[in-house]
């Protein structure tokens, strides 16, 4: 009976059930895999040019603070990161944009006009007006952002991992 060329009633039903079961398994199973790995597929490296206003408004030779925020969305969670930079314009309109994050342990530095230095309040690090280390524990100069001038507007390039 099992080897007969004719399909038995039981054999037919078994095949149909196996086929229907496999189809349902695939229809449910594949989306489930996609559902689970979905966040891994959106590998996004966001980078943006942040408008920082007219370049003319930044005084010559004096580092001027500029702050902005960036919003990151992870699933149902929104995180707002605040950034603070120092913009330094020289007479030939060359612009340097320094991160105010101390390269030692990440405190915020502030520019002191009296000494013409960026000073970190945490461990008394001193950076000169061009970001170089004068004294204190920092291992390297202040980080700089790439910048460009577009129609007289200063643009700061921010890359987020």
């Amino acid at each position: 009976m099992a080897r007969s060329a004719n399909v038995t009633r039981r054999g037919f039903i078994t095949s149909v059930m196996a086929f229907a079961g496999s189809v349902m398994g695939v229809v449910v199973g594949l989306p489930v895999i996609g559902y689970l790995i979905s966040p891994a597929l959106n590998a996004k490296k966001s980078d943006a040019w942040i408008p920082a206003g007219k370049l003319d408004t930044y005084p010559l030779g004096v580092p001027t603070s500029f702050s902005f925020t960036r919003t990151q969305v992870n699933g149902w969670e929104k995180t707002v990161n605040s950034f603070s930079v120092y913009v330094l314009r020289d007479a030939s309109n060359q612009v340097k944009v320094f991160s105010s994050i101390c390269t030692h342990l990440g405190c915020r530095v502030s520019f002191h006009k009296s000494s013409e230095e960026y000073i970190c309040p945490c461990h008394d690090a001193h950076f000169n007006i061009n970001g170089g280390v004068v004294s204190g524990p920092p291992p390297r100069p202040l980080n700089q952002y790439e910048s460009k001038v577009d129609n007289g507007n200063l643009m700061i390039h921010v890359i987020e991992a």
Partner: protein
Amino acid sequence: MISKRMFPWLDERLGISGIYKTIFDRMVPKVNWWFTLGSATLFLFALQVVTGIMLSVYYVPSPDKAYDSIQYIMNGVAFGWLIRGIHHWGATLMVITVFLHMLRVFFYAAYKYPREITWTTGVLLLLATLGMGFTGYLLPWDQKAYWATTVGTSIAGAVPGIGDFILRALRGGNDLSGVTLARFFSAHIWMFPLIIIALIGVHLYLVIRIGISSIPKENE
């Protein structure tokens, strides 16, 4: 094929074909399609377990994130709408199949000796299924969920004497709050499922042990 030699080896040690014969090759009387409703319910329950586990990957049972996490499942995750849709409609369908299954057993008088315990566990399974529906309904944490649970728990609070206590026990306080959401979530994914799995175990054991009843005939 290697499985031709592997299977007898495994079967000798695990007794797979014995289990198969007991469950699938058992004697059944000539019955009709109404007798498939139990299997349909079991299938839907398995589907609810799978899709429910999947939903718990992204769902957060907290008042400030529950709604947002579901929006993320619906719009941000691949096939999230499908998984949630199956869970939503599967729940509705399961209540229907459970009820029809009960009506079939009732009208064919299959609850009588020696199947009283099968019937009793079945009734408990019906109540647990309704409990799953009631607790699951709050989890989306939208207006409908919030007010439906407000009304539902108030109805439970109308019991004479101990009503207030029942209401506070259900809500985890006087008001519907994040505490309510957390305990409904816990009931929905832990307590009721474990109760249901245990009862299904007893229910199926009895169905297999006693066998199913035949359709009553005129002069019986």
